[in-house]
C-alpha cells in the first residue's frame, strides 16, 4: 500500500481577520475549501523536485502573525512608501501623498462593489494548478493592497513596498497586492522583503500586475534574507497590446525561498524583460520558476537569470517559455548562467521551451561553471589580492544585471548586501 500523500495541514486554512468586504471573504472561503486536500510538494512533484526537502511547515507556523503597528526597521526610501508588516499594510508606517490618478487602497477599505470587481480579478494572472501556493495566499490574506493607475497616470517616484516580518513568535504572513496599470500608465514598484525577528515564520506572498494597452511597469523585487523565514512568493503578470513589463528580481538565499514569476503576453506587440540574480551561501536555498506565455503575436521577451551558489547552498532555476499557436513573430530570448563558488554547492537549471508557432525567434542557453583559474591568476599577477580577485570575478558575473537596476538607491542596497555575501563566501580565501 502506498503511503497517503501528506496534505497541507488544516491549521493553514484558518484565516483570522474577518474585517473584509463580503465578496472578498467569500473568495477567501472558496479558495480555502479548494485547498482542503492540497498535497504538500514532494520530490515527485515536478515543479518542486529540487526544493520540496527545504519546505518544513509546522502547525505552530500556521497562525497569522499579529498585526504590528510599527516597523522594526525605519527604512528610509527614496520615493513613496507602503509598509506591509506581518503581511498587512500599515498606514501609520506608510508615506505617500494623495495622488490624483493613482489609487492606493487596502482591501478592507473597498466598497462591496469594488471588492466584488476585485474578487473577479484576483488570481487571474496566475495559474492555480501551476502555482499551488498562490491559492493559499488567496485563502489566507488578512488584508491586501490594490493599486490602480488611471489611464495615462505616471507615478513620478518609485513606490516602495516594504514587506517586513517582525517575527517575535512563529506564524505566517500572507501579503497580497494587486496592481492595475491603466492604458499608457507608468509606474516603478519596488518590493523589498525583510525580516527583523528570530522565530520561524512562513511568508506566502502574491503580487499581481495587469497591464492595459501601452502601460509600462517596472517591478524590482528584493528578497533580502532572514534565516528564520521560509518564503514562497508568486508574481503574476498579464500584458495587453504594446505594454512593457520589466522585472528585476534579486534574491538572497534562506532556509526556503521560492519565487514563481509568470508573465502572459496577451496583446500584440507586448514586451517583457526579466532579470534575475540569486546568491546563496551556507546551507541556503533559492528556487526561481519563471514562465513566459507568448499568447499574442509580435511579442518580445527577454530573460536573463544568474545564480551564484557558495558553500553548501542550493539554487534552482526553471525557465519555461510557451509560444502559443497564434503567437507568430514571437521573439524570445532566455539566458541562464550559474556560478558555483564551492564544490559543495549545487545548482539545478532547466530551460523548458514549448513552441507551437512556426515563425518565431527563440534562443536559450544555460551554463554552469566555476570561477576561471586563468582569470584569477591574471588578476593576482597584477598584485590584486586573491580575495579581491575572487570578488571582482564573481561581481563580473552579475555586474550587468546589477547595473541595470533602475533605482540607484536599490542598486546600492543590493551592492552592500552583496559585499556582505562576499565577505563571508571568501573569508577563507
Amino acid at each position: 500500500m502506498k503511503p497517503a500523500p501528506s496534505l497541507l495541514s488544516s491549521a493553514f486554512l484558518q484565516p483570522a481577520g474577518q474585517a473584509l468586504p463580503a465578496p472578498l471573504l467569500a473568495l477567501r472561503k472558496q479558495r480555502g475549501a479548494a485547498l482542503v486536500d492540497m498535497p504538500m510538494p514532494t520530490r515527485k512533484t515536478e515543479n518542486w523536485k529540487y526544493s520540496s526537502k527545504y519546505l518544513k511547515l509546522t502547525d505552530e507556523m500556521a497562525v497569522s502573525l499579529p498585526t504590528a503597528g510599527k516597523t522594526g526597521s525605519a527604512l528610509a526610501v527614496p520615493g513613496y512608501k507602503v509598509a506591509f508588516i506581518n503581511g498587512v499594510m500599515v498606514p501609520e508606517a506608510s508615506e505617500y501623498p494623495d495622488l490624483n490618478d493613482i489609487l492606493i487602497q487596502r482591501f478592507s477599505d473597498l466598497s462591496d462593489a469594488e471588492a466584488s470587481e476585485l474578487a473577479e480579478r484576483l488570481d487571474s494572472t496566475l495559474d492555480a494548478k501551476a502555482v499551488q501556493f498562490a491559492g493559499l495566499n488567496t485563502a489566507r490574506f488578512e488584508d491586501g493592497l490594490v493599486i490602480r493607475l488611471k489611464p495615462g497616470a505616471v507615478l513620478d517616484q518609485p513606490l516602495f513596498i516594504i514587506h517586513e516580518v517582525t517575527a517575535d513568535a512563529s506564524g505566517s504572513a500572507f501579503p497580497r497586492i494587486f496592481v492595475e496599470a491603466g492604458r499608457n500608465s507608468q509606474v516603478t514598484l519596488v518590493e523589498e522583503f525583510i525580516s527583523s525577528g528570530q522565530e520561524a515564520v512562513f511568508v506566502n506572498s502574491v503580487t499581481e500586475f495587469t497591464l492595459a494597452e501601452g502601460a509600462n511597469v517596472t517591478n524590482i523585487r528584493l528578497s533580502m534574507g532572514g534565516e528564520n523565514v521560509q518564503h514562497i512568493g508568486a508574481t503574476g503578470v498579464t500584458q495587453q497590446r504594446s505594454s512593457r513589463f520589466e522585472s528585476h528580481c534579486v534574491g538572497f538565499g534562506g532556509p526556503l525561498r521560492r519565487h514563481d514569476l509568470r508573465v502572459r503576453l496577451e496583446g500584440k506587440g507586448a514586451e517583457c524583460k526579466l532579470n534575475g540574480v540569486v546568491v546563496t551561501q551556507d546551507t541556503q536555498h533559492y528556487d526561481n520558476h519563471t514562465t513566459i506565455e507568448h499568447v499574442a503575436p509580435n511579442c518580445d521577451s527577454e530573460e536573463t537569470y544568474r545564480n551564484i551558489a557558495a558553500d553548501k547552498s542550493h539554487a534552482v532555476f526553471n525557465g519555461r517559455i510557451h509560444i502559443h499557436p497564434d503567437a507568430q513573430k514571437s521573439n524570445a530570448n532566455m539566458s541562464n548562467k550559474n556560478l558555483l563558488l564551492s564544490t559543495g554547492a549545487e545548482i539545478d537549471t532547466k530551460p523548458e521551451l514549448e513552441i507551437y508557432a512556426d515563425d518565431v525567434k527563440c534562443a536559450h542557453g544555460a551554463t554552469i561553471g566555476q570561477l576561471d583559474k586563468e582569470s584569477l591568476f591574471y588578476l593576482v599577477s597584477r598584485g590584486i589580492g586573491l580575495r579581491e580577485a575572487n570578488v571582482l570575478l564573481t561581481m563580473a558575473f552579475i555586474n550587468e544585471l546589477v547595473a541595470q537596476i533602475p533605482v540607484d538607491a536599490v542598486k546600492d542596497t543590493v551592492q552592500i548586501r552583496l559585499n556582505q555575501f562576499f565577505d563571508q563566501a571568501f573569508q577563507e580565501v
Partner: protein, 262 residues
C-alpha cells in the same frame, strides 16, 4: 637581482624545466630564445607564481629573498611583472577597474594612499596614448574583444603603469605588425632603467632589432644550452637552431618567414 638555480618544474607530472640556471642583474635586459615547446612560457609562469606548474627542485631568489615561497600577488607587489603570451579576457571587469585595483593594491603595499578615480584616469589616459590604445578601451572588459596586437599593447601599458622591478615579457612581439612592434618596443625601451631588469621571451629575433639585449640565452628542452651577447641572436637568425643541435619544427628561427603567434 634575480637568481635562478637548478630550477626544475613540471606540469601534470611531466617535467618541463630541467635545471635552469640564470643570473640577472638590475639594469640588464636578457632575452630567452628557443623553439616551440622548449619551456619558455613555463619559466615565465613559474616566476610569476602560476601554481598550475609544480616546482620540483631548485631555487629562485629576488633581491636575496625566496621568490618561490611567495604568493603570486606578493611577487607582483614586490615588483615581478609578467606580460602574458596569451592575455586573458575578463568580461564584466572593466580595464579601468582592473588597472585601478591593481595600481592601488601596489600603492597600498608601499604604504601609499590610494589613487582616486580622477588621478587614475589622468595617468591611464597618458599611458594609453604612449602605447597607442584609444582610451575608450578602458571602459571595456579586460582584453574583451581585443585584437592580438591590442592585447600585447595592453600588457605593456600595465607594465608602464606598475613600473615593476622585474618585467618578464612572454612573446610580447608575436602577432604584431611592424607599427605595433615599434609601439611595443618603444614601450619596453621606456621601461629600461638602472634599477629594473627585463627578461624577454621570444621565439624570434626581430624584437631584438628594436630592443637590444645585453644577454641572449637559448632554451631547449627545459635547459639553457647556450648563452651569449646579442650577436648570438643574430647568429641564430642566420643559422637556425639546428646549428646548436636543437630540433625545431620550423626551418629558421627568423620571424621574417612566419607570422605564427606561438
Amino acid at each position: 637581482m634575480l637568481s635562478i638555480k637548478n630550477l626544475h618544474a613540471s606540469v601534470e607530472g611531466k617535467e618541463i624545466l630541467k635545471g635552469i640556471n640564470l643570473e640577472i642583474k638590475a639594469g640588464e635586459v636578457h632575452a630567452i630564445m628557443g623553439p616551440n615547446g622548449s619551456g619558455k612560457s613555463t619559466l615565465a609562469q613559474v616566476l610569476a607564481g602560476n601554481d598550475a606548474f609544480e616546482v620540483t627542485s631548485g631555487s629562485v631568489t629576488m633581491h636575496g629573498e625566496d621568490l618561490l615561497e611567495k604568493a603570486t600577488e606578493e611577487r607582483a607587489r614586490d615588483g615581478v611583472f609578467l606580460a602574458f603570451q596569451y592575455p586573458v579576457e575578463i568580461p564584466g571587469v572593466s580595464n579601468l577597474q582592473f588597472m585601478r585595483t591593481s595600481v592601488n593594491a601596489m600603492r597600498h603595499h608601499r604604504g601609499e594612499s590610494e589613487m582616486n578615480a580622477a588621478e587614475f584616469m589622468k595617468m591611464a589616459r597618458e599611458i594609453s596614448k604612449q602605447v597607442d590604445l584609444d582610451p575608450a578601451f578602458l571602459k571595456r572588459g579586460v582584453n574583451e574583444g581585443f585584437s592580438g596586437g591590442e592585447k600585447k599593447r595592453n600588457e605593456i601599458m600595465q607594465a608602464l603603469m606598475l613600473q615593476p622591478k622585474l618585467a618578464i615579457l612572454d612573446e610580447t612581439d608575436s602577432g604584431l605588425d611592424i607599427d605595433a612592434l615599434k609601439v611595443v618596443s618603444d614601450g619596453v625601451n621606456a621601461l629600461r632603467a638602472e634599477d629594473r631588469a627585463i627578461l624577454m621571451v621570444t621565439h624570434y629575433q626581430r624584437l631584438l632589432d628594436h630592443i637590444v639585449p645585453d644577454f641572449v640565452h637559448v632554451l631547449a628542452e627545459g635547459k639553457i644550452v647556450k648563452s651569449g651577447g646579442r650577436e648570438l641572436a643574430l647568429e641564430l637568425e642566420e643559422r637556425g637552431y639546428a646549428w646548436l643541435g636543437i630540433k625545431d619544427d620550423e626551418t629558421a628561427a627568423s620571424s621574417a618567414l612566419s607570422n605564427s603567434a606561438n
